[in-house]
């Protein structure tokens, strides 16, 4: 690792954003995007634990064919609350609100986001929405599935649906405001010389994500609001008893909730696009294609929603069109994967912890993405619809993709966020534990699904037990893989070695300032006169001094 070969010992800067002001008020009323990012870090981690707790109970319950932990009704609530906590309150805000909040202004050389107060407001909105959802969880729970299909959610369910939909409705505005803030910031706050095609790919990914935030989230907000109105005031929008169309709810729900998957995966792709060139020591291959493919995924993502509804009796022509359009998403996704692999080719690859996560991401995303094509295939989807195959597929995307990207990004920028290094050896072990645990948990579920085990059932035929026990065993390894980083990252905040401004070294603007950065990010507004990820023309990184090997640029080889 290059930072170990450097003879320089670093010192923490005297004043930085963490110690500029003290006291609980200075955190709860802060408008500093970096502090707000840490507030989000704490709150999404909290929801990750809640969701993880439900997942643990699900996996324990499924150890035996008859199910051995909870009643069928409680089991329905467990998978519902797992989904709601993880999707709306962990995965969607995770990378944008934590890493995006911290990094977007720094990567573009700005002092803060365009609307610092609205940024703080969006955190409070998240907390209020989260409060409603926790109220729902603790007063009867929620048993509709995270999809809230009507008329179960609007008429028949006896669980606490109303506070849950109010909570998700409110939380939607947190996403909208974050997305709005990012788009405006990226348009108007870039440093001199930082043209669109010099932007880091993480910023491109955040931009694409923000497009989905602002155009998709209002649709789920209104849809769930209407479900709430049906429940509370007996209005009818989707109620078949009045002639309303419950399938219409599904259309509106998936119009947001399919693009929401890209809200989760796009930022993770952005993280990987930052990590790969840094640890291959060469410019990223096909910059414009990676940037453009982020936008393409966001745009195409809006026209594939009805592939969740092949079995609702939608017209065969609609199904054909949505199947074809869903295949199209594979093109920009594959563009990214091929470009990352091409970047690795002949690079001076070092296997630091963030790189392990990025490589893990590529592998798991590949499996998750390709199995997505199985599900986009009309004939095959009828066989594996609503089975564990679907569960395995989207966990490969959401956990293997999005969460790997998130944890990898945390490791990559942790020295910048805290100014400290974590124990590298332990971190590499944890990355591998996570990878093994993840695959052991979810790969058996592909087989279970293909053999016909349906999702959301509290029991299963005895012949499926071996694979289910494997999955549960994998889940406990996976849990260890999450606990380890949580422990040593927290430990490193106090006891870690001082990182210095640019430990890897990496090329982005955020590495030009001290770690941790000052409140205003840069002492003087930086001027950008280099191309992105250009290691060759950056003597300031210290690579030419023999500290680390430099790979040939494309065209040299």
């Amino acid at each position: 690792m290059s930072s170990q070969t450097l003879p320089i010992t670093h010192e923490m800067p005297r004043e930085h954003y963490l110690n500029a002001t003290y006291g609980i008020r200075s955190w709860l009323l802060t408008t500093d995007h970096k502090r707000i990012a840490l507030l989000y870090l704490a709150s999404v981690t909290f929801f990750f634990f809640i969701g993880g707790l439900f997942a643990t109970m699900i996996r324990i319950h499924l150890l035996t064919p008859a199910g051995f932990l909870v009643t069928p009704e409680t089991y329905n609530k467990l998978f519902t609350m797992h989904g709601v906590a993880m999707i709306f309150f962990f995965l969607i805000p995770s990378i944008p609100a934590v890493l995006g909040n911290f990094l977007v202004p720094m990567m573009i050389g700005a002092k803060d986001l365009a609307y610092p107060k609205i940024n703080l407001l969006s955190w409070y909105i998240y907390l209020i929405g989260g409060g409603f959802v926790l109220y729902s969880f603790s007063t009867g729970g929620l048993d509709t599935g995270w999809t809230f299909y009507t008329p179960l959610s609007s008429v028949y369910s006896n669980s606490a649906v109303t506070p849950a939909v109010i909570g998700i409705f409110i939380n939607g505005f947190s996403s909208i405001l974050t997305g709005l803030n990012f788009i405006v910031t990226i348009h108007t706050m870039r440093a001199p010389g930082l043209t669109w095609f010099r932007l880091p790919l993480f910023v491109w990914a955040q931009y694409a994500t923000s497009i989905i935030f602002i155009l998709g989230t209002p649709v789920i907000a209104i849809t769930l609001l209407l479900v709430g109105l049906e429940r509370m005031f007996h209005l009818g929008f989707f109620n078949p008893a009045l002639g309303g169309d419950p399938i219409l709810f599904q259309h509106l729900f998936w119009f947001y909730s399919h693009p929401a998957v890209y809200i989760m995966i796009l930022p993770a792709m952005g993280v990987v696009s930052e990590i790969i060139p840094t640890f291959a020591r060469k410019p990223i291959f096909g910059y414009t294609f990676i940037a453009g493919s982020s936008i393409a995924i966001a745009v195409i993502g809006f026209v594939v929603w009805a592939h969740h509804m092949f079995l609702t009796g939608e017209s065969v022509y609609a199904a054909l069109a949505f199947s074809l359009l869903s295949y199209l998403v594979a093109i920009p996704s594959a563009v990214k994967v091929f470009n990352w692999t091409a970047t690795l080719y002949k690079g001076s690859v070092s296997y630091d912890t963030p790189m392990l996560y990025a490589l893990g991401f590529i592998g798991l995303f590949l499996i998750g993405g390709l199995t997505g094509l199985f599900l986009a295939c009309l004939g095959l989807d009828i066989h594996i619809h609503d089975t564990y195959f679907v569960i395995a597929h989207f966990h490969y995307i959401m956990v293997g993709g999005a969460v790997m990207g998130y944890v990898g990004g945390l490791h990559f920028w942790w020295p910048k966020i805290t100014g400290k290094l974590y124990p590298e050896f332990l971190a590499r072990i944890a990355a591998m534990v996570l990878f093994v645990g993840f695959n052991l948990t979810f790969f058996p579920q592909f087989i279970l699904g293909y053999l016909g085990m349906p999702r959301r059932y509290h029991m299963y035929p005895p012949e499926f037990q071996v694979l289910n026990v494997m999955s549960t065993a994998g889940a406990s390894i996976l849990a260890l893989g999450y606990l380890l980083p949580m422990i040593y990252l927290t430990w490193s905040m106090r006891y870690g070695k001082v990182a210095g401004p640019n430990p890897w070294p990496a090329t982005g603007l955020e590495w030009q300032t001290t770690s941790p950065p000052p409140t205003e990010n840069f002492d003087v507004t930086p001027v950008v006169d280099w191309e992105p990820y250009d290691f060759d023309h950056r003597p300031d990184l210290g690579l030419t001094a023999g500290a680390g090997e430099l790979a040939p640029s494309h065209g040299d080889d």
């Binding site: 002092k111 405006v184 706050m189 649709v219 169309d245 219409l248």
Partner: protein, 243 residues
């Protein structure tokens, strides 16, 4: 972030600050379009499916009140535009006057809406157990003209003949009526709150030709809310008036 005069710390120039605020409001309005878009979609599909029920429902609305409200709202857009113009051209004394006029017109609109809602409540047109699309025709009050009641009865009879489940389907119409106008009214209330804040600032003399972004972007919001009504009025009030 500290602020120097009118310039907030995260910006370099006032021009950048103004561009940022305006862009932000336009993006917010884009999200609002999609927010209302969900309701417009549900409206279109259900109206296509149950055009008889939607026609009957629409004809129960009071065209005079709705038309009056439309005029009121368009006038409020005019006064809002005048407030923006006053701020841009430095006519400081006019800004509060036009803002107060806008606020008054907005309040009149909401007041008329309350009268309309009350009428629907009296006629048992609130979706739920006691919803009865024929209630008014069967229970006329002294102020109703017999000829109107006879026409209404005849229309209902025809509609029930074409659609035996009229009473259910009309509830879909009224759910949309209350959902759409209710959300619109909520936006008006938010707008009124913003106007009050603007009023306070403008009386303090904060808005000058070089700094008037808040007036401008709240103006954008107000016009957007008016435009929503321009779509709601024909969709809810005018669809079956040719009968």
């Amino acid at each position: 972030m500290h602020r120097t005069g009118e310039l907030y710390g995260q910006f370099e120039t006032l021009e950048q600050q103004k561009d940022t605020a305006t862009l932000g409001m336009w993006i917010f309005l884009a999200t609002e379009v999609l927010f209302f878009g969900g309701l417009f979609l549900i409206y279109s599909i259900n109206r296509h499916m149950y055009s008889d029920a939607f026609g009957v429902g629409s004809n129960t609305l009071d065209l005079k009140l709705g038309g009056f409200n439309t005029v009121v709202l368009i006038l409020s857009s005019l006064t809002m535009a005048m407030a923006v113009w006053s701020a841009q051209t430095g006519k400081k004394k006019f800004i509060p006057i036009f803002l107060i006029l806008t606020l008054l017109l907005g309040t009149v609109f909401l007041g008329v809406k309350v009268v309309e809602y009350k009428q629907k409540f009296d006629h048992r047109l609130i979706p739920g157990q006691s919803f009865d699309i024929s209630y008014h025709a069967n229970h006329p009050t002294a102020s109703d003209k017999p000829a109107d009641i006879a026409a209404e009865k005849e229309e209902l009879e025809k509609a029930f003949h074409a659609d035996p489940n009229l009473n259910s389907h009309a509830q879909l119409y009224f759910s949309l009526y209350f959902g759409m106008t209710g959300l619109h009214a909520l936006h008006m209330v938010v707008g009124a709150g913003l106007l009050l804040w603007l009023l306070k600032q403008s009386i303090a003399g904060r808005f000058t030709p070089s700094y008037n972004t808040p007036v401008e972007i709240i103006g954008l919001y107000w016009h957007f809310v008016d435009i929503v009504w321009i779509y709601l009025f024909p969709l809810l009030y005018l669809i079956e008036r040719h009968r």
